[in-house]
């Protein structure tokens, strides 16, 4: 059956209420099982040997002494892995285990599985590697210079004409925009041009990557793993190792945070390979040091932004040249940054050029609205400068130029109904805007955009004989989606919330579901759950019709029960879901509903943030005094957790804006691979974070849902930058705005 995806403005009984999550008790009692919490009889401990160099040739790699150590059951190097030369998965495999060259500090070169940690540690020490150090580059601007050391020798810049004949660290140039920017700048009364830099940050999930792998000589395997997408892990791991997909059962554990970092494989294929070689279960858990060095942080960036405007506030042209480093492997992060840079605005003339650049740092992975926060920092800081230059209120300037339905987006297409205008109006009218500021305090605001995705999804609904319902989902629950899916299921079926038990299936129990990324969980799984419930309702109507011996056309489903319609059926009392379920055995067997859908049309998302800061002029330290997030959710299924996404994204953005950064030494090694020196915000750093949920229905979802997970990290860097500028009188162009950087800016301003 095909279902209609369109928004119908249904009246809700349950959706929109604040319910307790079904996995709450497990998580407050310590019972919930995460990646590192599983064990198997006879399991081995896996440890990795990693490169101490930023860039080097592996001249010799000798594992023979380690293999001979008592208690060592398997050693793996790239030589033990399938050869994917010229294959689509080569980069993925080479990142999991270096081949002839190590490309960054922390790149894995070998792994061992042994009976215990002590033995595995000893074995690592017995592996002999001789390296020939190669010149390295870790800075994005340095890497773009023509005489920069080449990170890879086989990368030729894409997106330039003519096709280059020499390899380069620039893997791609992507241009977006429309109109005539030269003409646009000629029309402007004021032009602001500024360069910005942002440093590399990590998603900082508290749970390190962890898995328990088990592969037998018959080719059957199991993987218990912390991941945002166990189906994707199955696809990638089976392709890398030459396993049959159906024979590799991947179970997603409870996930201790991901934010994009658990969308890619890291140690998992190697754990499977070790297990296959040893024919024993293998447990692999990254240390925090390994997480920082060898998982997938986001890019560091450098960019030039230019915006021109008339005195009345009309922006006549905007241009952005943004340079993002992708780590040592080809990515598309600069391209994505270029697409999002001006997406909040209705511009006649706009151009953004994104450069994707290789450096000797770990492979970049997605981090919550990947690439958007940095571009927004540049653009939204410049928009504030334009407002100052023409003497206009920065919110008014944004409202005047905000994109709306019918605006041609800077990345190409024309927008449908969107929420940037309403979030800005809400910001303008928010009481936060009228709160009194004290000495050394300043207020800033910024807006942000993110695409949101849908994608492949399926859900199962099975109705038990007692009328309780199993809802089986395949999108990993990263932030409370079992609660919202249960709400949706109960809403459709017309039963109480606590009669639904939601469960995340393993890969052998339900069809493919895309990874929980791109804010797609509630949007897509919500859609599949609605449709699956409607299938189950059709089935229950059939059963009721049979019971009553009337045509199914005379049965309707209202408030959790089948009702016979029409005068002649007046004598038939309604049959509740529970009654129908109880008779299922006699009316045709188990009652289920199922749906597979490609949930496209996720609808773009916008947010506006307001922030008050206090800057200590003596130390350069910045304290967040007040913070407000306003974002369009389309429809908030469980507002508690929508607020949670808004607050969490804002907090991550605050950390990025003020403290967090990867610090590389001249030797190309990461100097702060731990939570002591890579400082994420703690409880005493933050105030309460105020939220306002707007609901502008997404026309492509029956409930009007838009994803909410990511957009909240987009505005903070710029909102805080603008607030710091208003508090301390200095325009910060380098994130994080750590105390030394702010102090330096204050001192330089005083000297000037």
């Amino acid at each position: 059956m095909t279902h209609d995806q369109s928004f119908t403005n249904q009246k809700f009984k349950l959706v929109g209420s604040r319910v307790n999550r079904p996995d709450g008790v497990d998580k407050v009692t310590g019972r919930a099982k995460y990646g590192a919490d599983a064990a198997a009889p006879g399991q081995l401990v896996a440890l990795f040997l990693r490169s101490p160099h930023a860039h080097a040739k592996i001249k010799k790699l000798d594992t023979s002494r380690a293999e001979k150590l008592a208690g060592v059951k398997a050693v793996i190097t790239s030589a033990d892995l399938p050869d994917h030369t010229n294959g689509a998965q080569l980069d993925v495999l080479e990142n999991c285990m270096a081949r002839d060259r190590v490309l960054y500090d922390g790149h894995a070169v070998a792994a061992v599985a042994a009976i215990d940690r002590e033995t595995a540690k000893k074995a690592l020490k017995l592996i002999k590697v001789s390296y020939e150090k190669l010149p390295h580059v870790t800075d994005v601007d340095e890497a773009m210079k023509s005489d920069a050391p080449l990170v890879r020798e086989n990368i030729f810049t894409r997106g330039v004409d003519p096709k280059p004949t020499k390899p380069s660290n620039i893997c791609k140039v992507s241009t977006f925009g429309h109109g005539d920017i030269e003409a646009g700048f000629n029309e402007a009364d004021v032009i602001i041009e500024k360069s910005f830099k942002t440093e590399q940050t990590h998603q900082g999930y508290i749970e390190p990557h962890a898995c328990l792998a088990s592969v037998g000589p018959d080719g059957n395997g199991e993987l218990w793993v912390t991941t945002q997408g166990h189906y994707t892990y199955r696809t990638v791991c089976s392709a890398l190792l030459g396993m049959d997909m159906a024979k590799l059962k991947v179970t997603s554990s409870e996930i201790g945070g991901g934010f994009g970092g658990k969308t890619h494989v890291w140690i998992e294929p190697i754990a499977l390979a070790l297990s296959r070689k040893a024919n024993r279960p293998v447990k692999a858990v990254m240390t925090r040091d390994e997480v920082f060095k060898a998982s997938g942080p986001t890019c560091s960036t450098s960019m030039d932004i230019k915006i021109g405007a008339k005195k009345d506030g009309t922006i006549t042209a905007g241009s952005a040249h943004i340079r993002y480093q992708d780590g040592a492997f080809r990515g598309q992060w600069g391209q994505l940054g270029a697409m999002t840079a001006f997406a909040c605005y209705d511009l006649k003339n706009v151009q953004s050029v994104g450069y994707d650049v290789l450096v000797n740092r770990p492979k970049v992975a997605a981090y919550r609205a990947p690439s958007a926060p940095m571009a927004a920092f540049g653009v939204e800081s410049t928009v504030d400068l334009v407002a100052k230059a023409i003497g206009m209120d920065p919110v008014a300037l944004r409202i005047k130029n905000a994109a709306k339905e019918g605006t041609r987006a800077s990345y190409g297409p024309t927008y449908g109904p969107i929420g940037i205008g309403p979030t800005l109006e809400a910001a303008k009218n928010h009481p936060h805007m009228r709160a009194k500021l004290k000495k050394n305090q300043g207020r800033g605001m910024a807006c942000g955009f993110w695409f949101n995705f849908g994608g492949q999804t399926c859900s199962d609904i099975n109705i038990s004989a007692d009328g309780t319902v199993n809802l089986t989902l395949g999108t990993v629950d990263v932030g409370g989606s079992r609660a919202s899916m249960s709400l949706i299921c109960a809403e459709e079926l017309g039963i109480p919330y606590d009669q639904v038990k939601a469960n995340i299936a393993d890969t052998s129990s339900l069809g493919h579901n895309d990874t929980t990324e791109g804010s797609r969980g509630t949007f897509s799984s919500g859609m599949a759950t609605i449709f699956a419930a409607r299938e189950a309702i059709e089935e229950m109507k059939e059963r009721a019709a049979q019971t009553w011996d009337i045509p199914v056309e005379e049965v309707e489903w209202v408030e959790g029960e089948a009702r016979a319609v029409g005068k002649k059926n007046d004598n038939l009392p309604p049959l509740t879901l529970k009654e129908i379920a109880g008779r299922a055995a006699a009316t045709g067997g188990p009652i289920a509903g199922h749906n597979e859908v490609v949930a496209d049309g996720a609808g773009v998302s916008f947010a506006s943030h307001i922030c008050d800061v206090e800057v200590d002029p003596e130390t350069g330290g910045t304290k967040i005094i007040r913070y407000t997030v306003i974002q369009d959710a389309g429809k908030a299924i469980n507002p508690d957790y929508v607020e949670g996404q808004f607050q969490g994204g804002a907090a991550q953005g605050i950390g990025w804006a003020l403290n967090e950064e990867y610090i590389y030494g001249d030797d190309g090694r990461l100097q702060n691979a731990g939570f002591l020196d890579y400082r994420i915000p703690v409880c005493s750093d933050l105030p309460f974070i105020d939220t306002e949920i707007l609901e502008i229905p997404n026309p492509n979802h029956p409930y009007g849902i838009r994803g909410v997970g990511e957009t909240s990290i987009v505005p903070p860097l710029a909102a805080i930058g603008n607030a710091v500028s208003n508090a301390a009188g200095v325009r910060m162009t380098h994130v994080p705005m750590s105390p030394p950087r702010i102090l330096k800016a204050i001192e330089e301003a005083a000297e000037a």
Binding site: V25, V28, T29, I206, E254, G257, G644, Q652, C683
Partner: protein, 159 residues
């Protein structure tokens, strides 16, 4: 493995285990006693996910050796509830949506209980500083602080 025998009390029960002398109490609790509610986020005392009480004092179990637990009393998240009755902190963490991924939750609960045991009516600032050794990456701490405030109210009402 050469092990040392450790006699200790965990959540009120006498427990015995053997471990190498360089093993952290965190590893002993997780791998030898099976208390996997104690989480490892960093192994260096920076994240608080492995928070426990040792003779009533809040510590990171990754910074304590297993052998140091000999003759002492350990409290973990698994010991917070009284039979089938959740501790008010546990109830309020659920009611206030104070957890998203939940990996930091056991550590927060143990740390918050250590605070409320000493001070049953903490200010927002006292809560924020008492929990500053526990990292949460999902929530921005907003709902965690509210949950602790609500639980402290519940505990005062009970008395």
């Amino acid at each position: 493995m050469t092990g040392t025998l450790v006699n200790t009390t965990v959540n009120g029960d006498a427990v015995q285990f053997a471990c190498p002398t360089d093993e952290s109490l965190l590893d002993s609790l997780r791998d030898r006693i099976g208390l996997t509610g104690v989480k490892e986020g960093c192994g260096t005392g920076d994240c608080g996910a492995c928070s426990i009480t040792l003779d009533g004092e809040l510590v990171c179990s990754c910074l304590v050796l297993g052998v140091e637990a000999n003759g002492r009393e350990i409290g973990t998240v698994e010991g917070l509830a009284d039979g089938d009755k959740l501790h008010p902190l546990q109830d309020q963490f659920i009611n206030n949506a104070a957890l998203q991924c939940g990996i930091c939750t056991p550590g927060f609960l143990v740390a918050a209980k250590a605070l409320l045991d000493k001070n049953n009516n903490p200010t927002e600032e006292e809560i924020r500083y008492a929990l500053a050794g526990n990292l949460c990456r999902c929530t921005g701490y907003d709902k965690i602080v509210r949950a602790v405030q609500a639980a402290s109210k519940d505990l005062r009402k009970k008395k």
